[in-house]
Amino acid sequence: MLYQLAVPGPIDDVEELRVLEWHVAPGQSFAAGDLVVELETHKAVVEVRAARAGILRSVLAPAGDWQRLGRPLAIVGDDSDEPLPAQADDLAAMLVEFEVT
């Protein structure tokens, strides 16, 4: 099954933020608890960790791109050969844990 990795929230005052760094490359798998992506707000860094194992299939917002809260950053999946949809909006959201520091 495919999921979207969306910008988590709510985060105080934040409507949109910038992608700082991806820690998983497309095609790479990750385990529950792995740091997947770091996001940058106006004053803090948001660490986004996977709450379940999966494979990063496609990055929609590379480092330096901006995205609004709740909007997709990447498509993730349980396996590596399921065909990707044209857009991620209709995919279920993957559970994440996030910390603002």
């Binding site: 005052d13 409507e15 910038r18 106006h42 004053k43 330096g64 901006w66």
Partner: protein, 328 residues
């Protein structure tokens, strides 16, 4: 969501840091004073990287002593440097009004043009959960000081462009950065674009009513305009950007088309920005009638209780109600 090739999307603080860094590179006489602006990078990270690049001589941490900070800035500027003094809470600008109003703003007049005071006082205004003495917007008090320019950007591009204009001006400028703008982002043009004083920006075109706002209230006015558009009311939102001098021409041209003016500000209505805007438009309209309403903070201190704070401040609902009442 990425910006076009011609522009870069940045946080509000990054627009300020970029303007400061570029002007410090351009003018070796520019010195910055403020609390925690050095290694810490400023309360809103708007001084990030400047201490590392320009050093402790030019990026100077000060004690919590606003009268002395502005006094030192005025003296440094009068003596041949160019100074920016950062006041973390505009409420404490009150402590520095004597050097700013009585010395900086009057020096050129008093000395027959022999003394110039190229000083920018950056004062962070607005309410965000910090209570009665850390929330105020008192820019209207300063609009009546001869010799003082007052600007208040609402976007990253205008923060950059107005700050650069201020840092090249040969007299004192009050630069108001509203704290609720810091979480916002906006496009900066690829090429250096200065914003001149006295030039408003039409943030949204419309034909039924003119809403004049500045700083964070531009966003409030735009949110109200979105709601009103769904009811068929077409609002023109004018971002004043510069309060002194005021761009009366843009306001008058808009009101000539709409016949209705609503002013929005986070400071007090009494002797506020809206009073000056309405009076100037009235004078320029030469007796031609137009309807006018003011939306401002309620006449009460801003509480640190979030419910009372929100009740005190102008929001899109209050702006919408004022527009509906005016047009009904």
């Amino acid at each position: 969501m990425s910006g076009s090739a011609a522009a870069t999307r940045v946080y509000f603080r990054e627009a300020i840091a970029r303007a400061l860094s570029e002007e410090m590179a351009r003018d070796p006489a520019l010195v910055l004073f403020g609390q925690d602006i050095g290694r810490f990078g400023g309360a809103y990270r708007e001084f990030t990287g400047l201490f590392e690049r320009y050093g402790a001589q030019r990026v100077r941490d000060t004690p919590v002593a606003e009268a002395a900070m502005i006094g030192v800035g005025v003296g440094a500027a009068a003596a041949g440097l160019r100074a920016l003094v950062s006041i973390t809470y505009m409420d404490f600008l009150m402590l520095g009004l004597d050097p700013l109003v009585n010395y900086a703003a009057k020096a050129r007049y008093k000395t027959g043009g022999q003394l110039r005071v190229p000083l920018v006082v950056k004062a962070t205004a607005g309410a965000r959960g910090q209570g009665v003495a850390h929330s105020q917007c008192i820019e209207a008090w300063l609009m009546s000081v001869p010799g003082l320019v007052v600007v208040a950007p609402a976007t990253a591009a205008d923060a950059y462009g107005l700050l650069k204009s201020a840092l090249r001006h040969d007299g004192p400028v009050l630069f108001v950065d509203h704290k609720r703008l810091y979480p916002t982002a906006g496009e900066l043009p690829a090429e250096e674009t200065l914003v001149p004083f006295g030039r408003a920006r039409i943030a949204r075109g419309g034909s039924d009513v003119t809403i004049a706002a500045h700083a964070y209230t531009v966003r409030v006015a735009l949110a109200a305009a979105e709601e009103l558009a769904r009811e068929g009311v077409d609002c023109e939102v004018i971002d004043l950007r510069s309060l002194a001098p005021l761009d009366v021409d843009t306001l008058v041209m808009s009101v000539a088309r709409t016949g209705a003016l609503v002013t929005v500000e986070e400071g007090q209505a009494t002797c506020g920005v809206g009073v000056e805007v309405a009076a100037r438009v009235r004078e320029a309209r030469d007796g031609e009638p137009f309807r006018v309403a003011r939306v401002a903070a309620l006449p009460a201190p801003v509480s640190s209780n979030p419910v009372l704070e929100a009740a005190c401040l102008p929001d899109a609902a209050r702006v919408g109600a004022a527009v509906r009442a005016l047009l009904s």
